[in-house]
């Protein structure tokens, strides 16, 4: 197996890693960068647990080749909080009890962030559409939808760390 050097930004920091052959971005972030916040749910692009933002767009990191991410700016849930201060989306998720087991949560947060970064005043339908590719087993979605709407109403369109 050969390894390829890749440089990208993760949550505003320059990172250089060796990507394994055909390694996907999810594996590369977790193994190479040590950012465990994106989760491996299905590895097939059907659950959304691995959602990260690449240059502001939501992507399924399990289906994204790490080698193709050279020079891109990646945002993960690991970069959402500012020290002890939670991102407004994180705070709203907590207040609305929008996580139970929490496995879908980081993917939901990133899908929601991508939405609010572009559309700070989404309708309920906009929110539903933004998270339609993210599966949650526990919450019944309602608390998640409400949390995202609440974060939007508080003005959560703050970009933390990632955008260059």
């Amino acid at each position: 197996m050969s390894k390829t050097p890749v440089q990208f930004r993760v949550n505003g920091q320059d990172r250089a890693v060796f990507a394994e052959d055909a390694e996907n971005l999810l594996e590369c972030l977790r193994r190479g960068v040590g950012d465990m916040s994106p989760k491996y749910g299905c590895g097939q692009g059907t659950c959304g647990a691995c959602t990260v933002l690449i240059d502001g767009e939501p992507h399924l990191s399990c289906l994204t080749l790490a080698q193709g991410c050279g020079g891109r700016s990646i945002e993960t849930t690991g970069g959402l909080a500012d020290g002890p201060n939670l991102h407004p989306l994180q705070a709203a998720f907590m207040e609305h009890f929008a996580a139970q087991c929490g496995f879908c949560t980081t993917g939901m947060l990133m899908a929601a962030k991508a939405l609010l970064d572009k559309n700070p005043n989404p309708t309920r339908d906009d929110v539903v559409e933004a998270i339609a590719g993210n599966i949650c087993r526990c919450t019944g979605y309602e608390p998640i939808i409400n949390a995202i709407l609440e974060a939007a109403s508080r003005g959560s369109n703050s970009v933390v760390g990632g955008a260059v």
């Binding site: 139970q100 087991c101 539903v128 087993r137 919450t139 019944g140």
Partner: protein, 340 residues
Amino acid sequence: MAKHRGKGMASINYPIGMNLGGDPSQALVHSNPDGKFTVALSSIDLGQGMKQVTRQICAETLGVPVADVYVDTADSDTGPHCMGSFASRGTHRVGNAVIAAAKEARGVMMEAAAEELEVNPEDLETDGEGNIHVRGAPQRSITVSDVAVAAQFRQGKTISGRGIFLIPLSEVDPETGEMTPVSCFAHACLVAEVEVDDETGEVDVVEMNSAYELGRALNPKMVEQQLVGGAWMGMSHALWETTEPYYPDRDHGPEDFNQYLMPGPGDVVPHNIAVLERPAPDGPFGGKGPGEMCANPVLPAVVNAVFNAIGVRIDDLPITPEKVLRGRRAQGGARPGPQH
């Protein structure tokens, strides 16, 4: 082509835990020298709130702030034994074990405090904010953390306690087969309203209304969270999910989430929930817990609602469009009135 509306209801008595072999769980509680407490459990929190609820139960029993209690469920190899997180038993069984352990630890804590204050332990009380004082004389007081330090470094005491909850095994009567496998029941009633499309066979749940009786709601927001999420899962089982669509034939079984269907965020329906609290005499602070019951009544209620809507009695889940259309064809398409 028409859409038919129907309502169906279901009510359940739901057993909390299952007493086949006593259904025991253990808990261990100990203080650290800084006056914080650790509860060791092997009971797994998979999102249902086990850690939060046992933390509250321990803090309340000890008489210390919730913030001063940490629940450690890290390792079921080395932790105290637990039967597991199933059968809706967590709050009830594990909660009772935690009470027993916290009571024993509280006894040692009060003895250690009494030795420091030179009074009788019986004359002491906790204020729930991290202090222990003489009843009626709050100025004669010591902090829990000072007690923990004294116990550790001066008195040589471990402020700790052991707890187990075990229901005596119920023998089976050889004549009648009668036994008492369950000592505690929760209850629920749920009404589902559906819309059935008689051309496509699709069933949509449009509203749910429910009432749950689950003892005291030890954490009302988490109870609500369980009931909302669980009802969604019930709806999913009723209409979408199956690993063997042509049971027992495995052919055409789903292999990923593109084929194993579940409702998404766009399929959420209004669900009005009433929680009735009737504290259980044998529950920890009266709690029983929502558990699996939050999903179960949805399935029969949706089946009944489909019957009410189009007169087709489905006895095989999930209620797929194919089954609805076959059922309609079998009965000639006639629809009984809503009284059926």
